[in-house]
């Protein structure tokens, strides 16, 4: 199990050091600093073995978090724990920075004592932790016996992520579907691989212990698991969405999903990621990006990028940002674009083209002349892909009915571009927001 946990700043100075096991000594703190933080070479692995001691590290901005062990621990668990640790800290004091860590070091020690016992992770849900560990010192001495036992039963209970007795005047629920479309295109424009990875983020402000059911669209077919067949699709007469795989927040009853395909849960209070999903089948690319690069002599490059929106004309993509990388020896850029604004940002080595909104089935283009400095520098340009970001935001009807404490949401479509089919008018409190990231696509190789 985890033998110790250290937090360092970018210089390698220790900010937090908590040792859980006898086999980890103070020298481990220095070993990591010398061999990893101060190492001359770029870090080649997140797991390092130094003198039979293993170090797991993650970095958040310029802060290093390292877990140390001498045993054959569950490596995946250690990393999951480190991420969780970051989430917990962020939930308590915001951004993970040197200043914030120093300001809250007592709190961090207290948290570390609570969520890691003898190197075994314990309940680390902020909802539960915040009931008895606060930044304002501990209130326990003023608690009644009932309150105390309520805390402990929540921390150890089956629903460790939610406390009882939450009350809201208005019960509200928000759903965000965030998708990123990962597309790999050959220089010839052929799609090499494409997949969508999506996240359903829920913000729940509900009273009591609400039993929620998230009926995924009944058209959804989980690929490769043999549940749901073509028949069902034809029966419903709608386009089905094939999902390769999905994972759920720990509040979702997995065995129920496995047997009945229904997603039932008691949500944590506030924002959380309900599920992630991944799909590779029948991906409709919301945009086509067509780059053309021409070299004019040794010192000039002509770039033309066309984007075509490939969704229903009634939908609107917003906050479109296209990022076209430029070579390192660029000396100047002239840009002409039909729509929106484009700027060359020398510090980022990219042309950034922003369009406020664009309807479906439209087309726009940008052309740029890139002046290059003649250079003998052998340092190669990594030729990053063109990337694109945009949002499709729409108010969407969620048929919801509140029956006592049971809330059912049916159905929710997962992909924005499938959404437009059956729009019902919007009940005021629900908001459907989708953001699609669209990248990367490769520039044609230069010779």
């Amino acid at each position: 199990m985890i033998g110790g946990l250290f937090i360092y700043n970018h210089k390698g100075e220790v900010l937090i050091s908590r040792v859980y096991r006898d086999d980890i000594g103070r020298n481990a703190v220095d070993a990591f600093r010398v061999n990893v933080i101060h190492a001359r070479q770029q870090v080649r692995s997140p797991v390092t073995n130094i003198a039979r001691t293993s170090f797991f590290h993650v970095k958040r901005s310029n802060i290093w978090l390292a877990a140390v062990t001498k045993q054959n621990v569950n490596a995946a668990m250690v990393f999951e724990f480190l991420y969780k640790m970051c989430d917990v800290m962020a939930a308590y004091f915001g951004k993970i920075s040197e200043e914030n860590i120093k300001n809250n070091f007592v709190l961090i020690y207290e948290l570390l004592d609570e969520i890691l016992d003898f190197g075994y992770p314990q309940n680390s849900e902020t909802g539960a932790l915040k009931t008895f560990i606060t930044q304002q010192g501990i209130k326990s001495q003023h608690q009644t016996k009932e309150e105390q036992s309520q805390i402990t039963s929540q921390v150890t209970g089956q629903i460790g992520w939610r406390r009882e007795g939450i009350k809201y005047r208005r019960n509200e629920l928000f759903l965000d579907v965030l998708e990123s479309v990962n597309l790999l295109m050959s220089p010839q424009g052929q799609v090499l691989s494409a997949h969508v990875s999506g996240r359903v983020v829920m913000k729940s402000y509900l009273s009591g212990m609400p039993e929620c059911k998230f009926g995924m669209n009944d058209k959804i077919v989980i690929e490769k698991q043999g549940k749901g067949t073509a028949d069902e699709t034809s029966k419903s007469g709608k386009q089905s969405i094939a999902i390769d795989d999905c994972t759920f927040h720990q509040c979702v009853r997995l065995s129920k999903f496995d047997s009945e395909r229904s997603i039932s849960f008691i949500p944590p209070d506030g924002e959380f990621e309900l599920m992630r999903y991944r799909t590779t089948k029948d991906i409709i690319l919301p945009f086509r990006v067509i780059p053309l690069v021409r070299e004019v002599g040794r010192t000039k490059l002509e770039v033309k990028v066309v984007i075509k929106s490939n969704f229903k004309p009634s939908l609107l993509a917003q906050k479109i940002e296209v990022r076209i990388p430029t070579p390192l020896n660029t000396s100047g850029v002239q840009v002409i674009c039909m729509k929106g604004k484009a700027k060359y940002k020398a510090s980022e080595n990219a042309i950034v083209w922003k369009i406020k909104r664009m309807a479906g089935m439209k087309e726009s283009q940008i052309s740029a002349e890139i002046e290059l400095l003649p250079t003998n520098d052998k340092k190669k340009w990594a030729r990053p892909p063109i990337s694109m970001n945009f949002e499709v935001r729409q108010r969407r009807g969620l048929e919801q009915c509140v029956l006592g404490k049971t809330l059912e949401i049916l159905p929710v479509n997962l992909c924005t571009y499938h959404l437009a089919d059956d729009e019902t008018e919007t009940p005021e409190r629900s908001d459907f927001n989708s953001q699609t990231h669209f990248f990367p696509c490769r520039l044609p190789p230069r010779n």
Partner: protein, 942 residues
Amino acid sequence: MTDSKYFTTTKKGEIFELKAELNSDKKEKKKEAVKKVIASMTVGKDVSALFPDVVNCMQTDNLELKKLVYLYLMNYAKSQPDMAIMAVNTFVKDCEDPNPLIRALAVRTMGCIRVDKITEYLCEPLRKCLKDEDPYVRKTAAVCVAKLHDINAQLVEDQGFLDTLKDLISDSNPMVVANAVAALSEIAESHPSSNLLDLNPQSINKLLTALNECTEWGQIFILDCLANYTPKDDREAQSICERVTPRLSHANSAVVLSAVKVLMKFMEMLSKDLDYYGTLLKKLAPPLVTLLSAEPELQYVALRNINLIVQKRPEVLKHEMKVFFVKYNDPIYVKLEKLDIMIRLASQANIAQVLAELKEYATEVDVDFVRKAVRAIGRCAIKVEQSAERCVSTLLDLIQTKVNYVVQEAIVVIKDIFRKYPNKYESVIATLCENLDSLDEPEARAAMIWIVGEYAERIDNADELLESFLEGFHDESAQVQLQLLTAIVKLFLKKPTETQELVQQVLSLATQDSDNPDLRDRGYIYWRLLSTDPVAAKEVVLAEKPLISEETDLIEPTLLDELICCIGTLASVYHKPPSAFVEGGRGVVHKSLPPRTASSESTESPETAPAGAPPGEQLDTVPTQGDLLGDLLNLDLGPPVSGPPLATSAVQMGAVDLLGGGLDSLIGAPSFVAPPAAAVPANLGAPMGSGLSDLFDLTSGVGTLSGSYVAPKAVWLPAMKAKGLEISGTFTRQAGSISMDLQLTNKALQVMTDFAIQFNRNSFGLAPAAPLQVHAPLSPTQTVEISLPLSTAGSVMKTEPLNSLQVAVKNNIDVFYFSTLYPLHILFVEDGKMDRQMFLATWKDIPNENEAQFQIRDCPLNAEAVSSRLQSSSIFTVARRNVEGQDMLYQSLKLTNGIWVLAELRIQPGNPSFTGLELSLKCRAPEVSQHVYQAYETILKN
């Protein structure tokens, strides 16, 4: 006011100031002081001098202050054991506090104070806390038992805490269960023999119930514990798998990986014929792919594990190549791992895509990554023969880029391609030679020199090229020197007239001027060879090279099995067994996969067979397991009518044979009652195995005296490798007896005597039936021919490839080892003709996935010729049909260990464009199919 001020450096006399503050009357000031102490402690300053003052602050009702003091105590108690005792009272008092949070805090902290005297006082409070009414206290106490055990194991046993801990597994609170499981697992690891985690179906059921209810971390503890359990049969394994699969949808990657571990391990026990087995296989892929959208560090852990899973069960991810394509923004460690997996998954079906990707990667920026990509292209060429040409042209394109490290890496892999496909791509040598000057790495230089030497006769200026290397001979690394020496000797043997001077030069450089013993030895050997017997020298130096293997970096099967049991853990990240990086005895219990217990015939698919073969030792110790090996071993008990080996009895006998170490001891043993179905008396001999098959053969009268096809003798052990002893040989089967025809030649200068031979354990139990008889001493240049009779009664261990045989030959000089491949048809027994009805029934009975299809090209024989030729090698035609102008032959054969192979041979005599045969083989042990096909080909083409 912020706390960061405590980190600011302070001046001298700090300790003194702190002391005063700690003893202040004001609570706030005290707390501030303790915070300063903790901050100093964090940055590594020694504040142990303040021990008594800090401990004095412990008696407080301020919980925050109390926690800070505890933190201090945990750090320094060990250095001040006498003072630490002062704290005991407070701990004991706190363990009685009405507030469960305080009770838990006290017991948690006390366990972290590693001072003997305190430990003694801990026992009573701990006992109470283990039975506390509050689950929060119980779950903390459970972990505390593990802490105490770490300090004083004896004390824990004496106090009976282990039993209490075991009781907690049945606790009503899932988190208590999870922590108890974690604590017990850890304690059990340091007592491998104890039966602490006494897992039985009941307790497993409790764990599985708790699994649905506890936190993500608890689920990991429980799954990791489940992975150590061995279900009693395949049904139990299946029911556990069914309850574990929902975990594959958990958001926590560690839960997913631990579930994968349980499934991978228990799958081993499931029969591949089960529908459930197939379902499970399909369920594994999506979650594994999903792990690749996790954070990069977790992706890295996942990829290292996928690398293992792909080696163990390639079928799981064989269609998922694309997800391993490298993304631009992947960290380098993720890129390198993805590349590794891409090569493993490369196959004829996806090779075009893979190559296009690899070519792209070869133009990236990171040097390590580019090198690995270039190397990967070479590995693809070697792995997928159809792609070799495309790979070579891709490599040539890359060489044209003139990027130094790309060129060097490409040359290293091209050398391997030359070795794999000799005389095919030599046209590229000219291009390679153009880049000679840019090579500065030893490996690339050595590879280039090897190429020049190997193809010296086709390179006009080979002598000039090699000479140019010779100038700086002393500055080269040993690898290059050795290669240069060999290459020049090769050149000399090929073009003796022009290169005499050059060879003299290199020999004297190697023998006189070098202080590297390897180089000197090699130089002397060449010198002597060349001066005494140039013909022999030619045979030695220009000998045919052994094939290079297709898969590289495969993990050795027993280690792979152990690592599969460690999925998710550090061992799986390092690809090393825990014992390699864990100190002491803790956690290094050797783990192995459970043997298959289902009694049905195992049907490993040929794909998994190489990696999935259970280690031989498992069989030795667990004789009742009817796994793959048992099947190969099967002695066919019944008369041929019974067809393929039947179920349990046969399996057990196979195992008995292993234990007994041979059949001789078993013959006539009372337990060995002839099977009731043995209607044909002649078959009584059959159970005794093929060692006696010659006897059986005579009585049955099926055998043909003509004998099967005999391959010409090949050199098995070159004289160079065996201090002058050259062994060539072949295998024959005549009238039912197998023999190894050997030709021993003494090419040394001294007389050889005292010959003996021994075989390593092999797939079919081949063993010498008589000692190696060399009657007279073998004098120099003398050759002797010996026929060594073989039996198949030796002990059995599956080899890779199946038909390889490792042989040790001893003489008065030394012991030499070599390995050879025997053609499978020497194992075809003469009673391998199956009854027609039986054939039909068996053909239907064997599942379709066991069918393997092959083509035998350029074999313009008609059905009669084929049939008679095969018959002489004991492949019998059971039936013949003519369908739409094609002749179909249905054939059967039986191996010495009783495995039946059924064949359908399609002959198209009228088809001028294709003068080949199509062969379908069905067998319950499909891994033999490939070799049977090779036997067909050999027999038909010779």
